[in-house]
């Protein structure tokens, strides 16, 4: 998958959890990614983060450490 598409998908998930009540929404994002993303996709996200993760919602960046 292109990084652009991955960023879009991850940010869409973050956009939902950003609107949810409660303090720590990164858990929700992390859980969603763990539940629905195939290991290849998670590996791509990690690799992209290692390169700086430009364009990713801060909530995704925070969540990625828990995936």
């Amino acid at each position: 998958m292109t990084n652009d598409k991955m960023i879009l998908m991850a940010n869409q998930i973050a956009a939902f959890f950003n609107t949810q009540p409660g303090a720590d929404q990164s858990k929700g994002v992390a859980q969603h990614i763990k539940d629905f993303w195939e290991p290849r996709m998670i590996a791509q996200l990690r690799a992209y983060l290692a390169e700086g993760g430009q364009g990713l919602d801060p909530l995704v960046i925070e969540a990625a450490t828990q995936v």
Binding site: K5, F16, W37, E38, P39
Partner: protein
């Protein structure tokens, strides 16, 4: 596993037929009333007719104008009876029972009267019984026998011919002005006025059962006749549902297939393979020749009704385009080579095993079919999990109702609709969001329309003015014509009105829902920014209209919500599903008849395919692959170790293919190239794979990229079950041998065994789908009580079906939600990234029409194409005029993904700024236009919103021309050597 007795014949489970006696008038529910008929006592519910009560005793009072699918009409007078203490001879069909009544159905007076009535009928009816298509299947004939008619005294005098309707010319050779030629304009049935007895059954069927009101009786007395309000049936409002044909007691309205083939000699009950209503039909047969499909009166989803697809559009099953031999090729630019099953399976297995060896265990996967049976789907997902050793399985539900699974799972705790279809008969206010039931779910629409005629209110949330809003004789209707992509804002605004005006059901919320979540939600939804006045500019729905609708829903009694793909196929599809669940919970509309949240499922077995573990993250019964307990249970039953990580979803598979890490696919009964969004991307993904196995009836568009073609079987050729939108597990029964040699479950098993031969695993040994169902029941708690014997006894059951609910569960969440407390979820509106702008100023939304089904692979191969032979682009007159377009012009439709050409239909059914088309025809390739945007939670594509431009064009686009040339080349089959 349960003890299982292997059935020697497929009919070991019976043909499913229960007593079909026509009791003359509909059943009633009421206090018991006891009366005496012909000396025998009977107790029936108040409101029952004397005719029906007699029938319950086994006494069939002669009748012509009555049938138990229609309200009594009382016109033929054949059913007269004598009632002690009453004068005259009242019609038993229109006379309700009374306590203590004493009825006589056979007296000399009645016999004489009935003979007289029959004599009159027969005197104006051709006596060509022996050559009539309804011979042996004609109620007029039966009644002539039943009343003992032996002679007709009315004879034409020599001098003046007797006036009649059935002779084209009188004895002098002059044309008979009363005679009308046969109307055979409808491709499936004829109307032969010369045989009509003007009993009015057809007119009433069209009104009461179908709700179309296409027929009337014109004229009076001898001049009265059935009229279609147009030149002929095809030109009229008739939607070819067949209800009138079924109701007609004579050969006046007759299936053309019966005219051609003769009357059937056996019937087998089975389930329609088209939409998610899941209508039960009798396949009426002569040997292994299908003569006609007749809706089954005891079918619990359809209650004896049908639509044009299930009733008539089965011709594809015997179409010459069907591929009956397996085929292989090394690369997709070669012609196909027909080979034996063994060779094809060996070729496929070696390729798949080789790909896994080279690219890893996760480099191959499957797509299960929402058109195949539960048993077949279960095997396909088992193939990838247990044989390929990964979770790369997905299904077309990905592109339709995956957000339903997620949204209802989060709020209620289960991924399915809450009601049965009967429930609509108790609804008082009905919201329909993003669905077009008269076209997509026609039999349910007829049931809904009946309720609307009885006074239920309708609220439609849709960019288009759908036909449901034009239901004849309906009461209050609200249309909320929102801009595509603003569902969340509209549903939240409805909730805002209800909460801020204090119209919610506090008692229900307190008792049944998670109160912390409710408080959070209440604070959120009460904010002014959700008020209809604040969202009006964004959604296009006038605030006053929205407020009226919200009040009507919250205060109007039983409120039910039905929704379709116009809800799910958005970037916020899952959020809208949650918003709908919120709306139902806050108004207390869950857990009883007449209410609920009801996804209208597209394909026949889309519910079942989801239930059966087609999704890459969950095992059958919606249990996540992460869960150790369930995974270990499957490991034990299947005797292999299983992958604990989710697999790839369809769009992820295609992305991975383009990246070079996904190389092989077994695709059963789906045509992802035509049905999935962004065709060019799908084509690139398929082209990047080394082994694509298509298992289908036809060389579909996906097969253009396939290396192995395994011929599929139709629903007529196999046993199994489909699960409809109300969670109803219906039997599919084999009525003929598979033309391709094997049922689809057998083909999957052979493929599994071919792979297992290479890898050394234990062979699969299913001998009948009933055994597969037993394995499903053993491994899936919601199916624990299901087996074929139960389905035979009950006709059908709705899951959950287990110890707690031994004959299934019509209504969900009655005493509590599946997840415990219902959970309100904050549903913030987040606009899609797909936005109109100067380059693409219009919004395209897609849908379907009545006569065609999905990608059209089946219906295009039937006469249904007479109603819809091409996809059209609906465009508002203003937008058309701005572009200089006229109705019927070729137009170019372009988005940032691609462009295609089709003809325009100028109509104000769509709002300015919105255009609409269907995706039934591969030449149009509407999905060349749709984009890769998808639902945030499930990747369900955003089909319903694409920014486009429309301009005049000369004909098909370059892409269409190149594609059709390539498709033609790819379909070549090499001549046998």
């Amino acid at each position: 596993m349960k003890d299982f007795i292997i059935p020697g014949q497929n009919d070991a489970w019976g043909n499913g037929i229960q007593d079909e006696t026509d009791r003359g008038t509909p059943a009633h529910t009421g206090a018991p009333v006891t009366l005496t008929i012909d000396g025998m006592e009977i107790t029936v519910p108040a409101g029952t007719s004397v005719m029906r009560a007699a029938s319950e005793l086994g006494i069939q009072v002669p009748k012509l104008c009555a049938t138990d699918s229609l309200e009594a009409f009382g016109s033929c007078r054949l059913c007269a009876v004598e009632i002690e203490g009453r004068r005259g001879t009242p019609a038993s069909c229109t006379t309700p029972v009374h306590a203590g009544m004493t009825v006589h159905t056979q007296t000399p007076k009645l016999r004489k009267l009935r003979k007289g009535v029959m004599e009159l009928y027969i005197s104006d009816h051709p006596l060509d019984c022996l050559t009539c298509a309804a011979n042996n299947d004609c109620e007029l004939q039966d009644m002539a026998g039943a009343v003992g008619l032996r002679d007709v005294r009315y004879k034409a005098p020599e001098s003046a011919p007797l006036a009649n309707h059935f002779e084209a010319r009188d004895t002098s050779g002059a044309a008979n002005p009363e005679w009308l030629p046969k109307d055979d304009s409808n491709p499936y049935f004829t109307y032969d006025a010369s045989k009509c007895i003007v009993c009015n059954r057809c007119v009433r069927a069209c009104e009461e059962v179908q709700g179309t009101f296409a027929l009337t009786i014109e004229g009076r007395g001898f001049d009265s006749r059935v009229a279609v309000g147009a030149e002929n049936f095809m030109a009229s409002d008739c939607v070819s549902c067949g209800a009138c044909v079924q109701a007609c007691p004579t050969a006046t309205l007759q299936e053309k297939s019966v005219i051609e083939l003769g009357t059937p000699d056996r019937s087998v009950v089975t389930t329609c393979a088209y939409c998610g209503v899941g209508c039960s039909f009798k396949a009426e047969m002569q040997g292994d020749q299908l003569v006609r499909m007749v809706p089954y009166k005891h079918g619990k989803a359809n209650r004896g009704h049908s639509c044009v697809k299930g009733r008539f559009a089965y011709g594809y099953a015997s179409h010459s385009d069907r591929i009956l031999n397996p085929m292989i090729r090394d690369s997709v630019d070669q012609p196909w080579k027909e080979v034996s099953w063994e060779e094809a399976l060996d070729f496929a297995a070696k390729k798949l095993v080789g790909l896994q060896a080279k690219y890893g265990q996760k480099s191959i996967g499957v797509i299960t079919s929402s058109r195949c049976t539960n048993e077949e789907t279960y095997l396909v997902q088992k193939l990838t999990r247990a044989v390929f050793g990964n979770n790369n399985t997905d299904t077309c539900a990905r592109v339709c109702h995956s957000p339903t699974g997620y949204g209802l799972g989060q709020t209620f705790g289960t991924s399915a609709g809450t009601q049965d279809f009967d429930s609509v008969e108790k609804s008082d206010v009905i919201i329909v969001i993003g669905a077009n039931p008269t076209d997509g779910h026609p039999v349910f629409a007829s049931r809904l329309r009946k309720r609307l005629r009885q006074g239920a209110k309708l609220i439609v949330v849709d960019p288009r003015r759908i036909d449901l809003l034009h239901t004849p004789h309906m009461g209050e209707g609200h249309h909320l014509p929102l801009k595509p992509g603003t569902n969340v804002a509209v549903v939240s605004a409805l909730s805002h009105v209800i909460v801020t005006e204090g119209l919610m059901d506090e008692a229900f919320i307190k008792a049944r829902c998670d109160l912390d979540a409710w408080e959070d939600y209440k604070a959120f939804i009460s904010e002014d920014r959700h008020a209809p006045e604040a969202t009006e500019a964004l959604t296009g729905v006038p605030a006053a209209t929205l407020r009226d609708a919200a009040r009507a829903f919250a205060t109007g009694g039983n409120g039910a919500i039905y929704y379709g793909l116009g809800v799910t196929e958005h970037s916020q599809g899952s959020t809208t599903v949650m918003a709908i669940a919120n709306l139902a919970m806050m108004t207390g509309n869950i857990g009883r008849e007449g209410v609920g949240v009801n996804p209208l499922r597209g394909q026949n077995n889309v519910q079942g395919s989801c239930d059966m573990g087609s999704f890459p993250h969950e095992f059958p019964g919606y249990r996540h692959v992460h869960g150790d307990e369930v995974r270990q249970m499957f490991e034990q039953v299947w005797g292999v170790s299983l992958d604990a990580e989710p697999g790839l979803r369809i769009p992820n598979m295609l992305d991975a293919a383009v990246d070079g890490t996904f190389k092989g696919l077994y695709c059963q009964g789906e045509d992802i190239l035509q049905s999935d969004p962004d065709t060019k991307h799908v084509a690139a993904g398929l082209a990047a794979m080394d082994c694509v196995i298509v298992h289908d009836l036809f060389l579909n568009e996906t097969a253009n990229y396939a290396h192995v073609f395994l011929p599929g079987s139709t629903f007529l050729e196999k046993d199994g079950t489909f699960t409809n939108a109300e969670r109803r597990i219906n039997r599919v029964r084999k009525v003929m041998a598979p033309k391709n040699g094997y049922a689809d479950w057998e083909v999957t098993q052979m493929l599994a065994n071919a792979v297992l031969k290479e890898t050394g695993g234990a062979r699969w040994t299913y001998t009948h789908p009933a055994e597969i169902m037993d394995e499903i029941a053993d491994t899936t708690p919601s199916f624990a009580g299901v087996d074929y014997a139960l389905l035979e006894a009950e006709g059908s059951v709705q899951w959950p079906c287990n110890e707690e609910h031994p004959i299934g569960t019509p209504l969900m969440h009655v005493d509590g939600f599946m997840r415990g407390k219902g959970r309100f979820i904050v549903t913030e509106y987040i606009p899609t990234d797909e936005k109109t702008g100067p380059r693409f100023p219009l919004l395209l939304t897609t849908g379907r029409i009545l006569s065609q089904y999905n990608v059209g692979a089946q219906t295009r191969r039937t006469e249904n194409s007479l109603w819809h032979d091409q996809d059209l682009l609906e465009i508002h007159p203003h937008d058309a005029e701005n572009r200089g377009l006229k109705d019927g012009d070729w137009v170019r439709l372009a988005s940032r993904s691609g462009e295609t050409s089709l003809r325009a239909k100028v109509t104000d059914r769509v709002s300015p700024g919105v255009v609409y088309t269907t995706f039934h025809h591969p030449d149009t390739q509407a999905n060349v236009i749709t984009t890769e945007y998808s639902d945030w939670a499930t990747n369900c594509p955003e089909y319903k919103v694409t920014a486009v431009q429309v301009a005049a064009s000369n004909g098909p686009s370059d892409w269409q021309q190149t594609y059709s040339a390539q498709a033609e080349k790819s379909r070549r089959i090499a001549a046998a050597e």
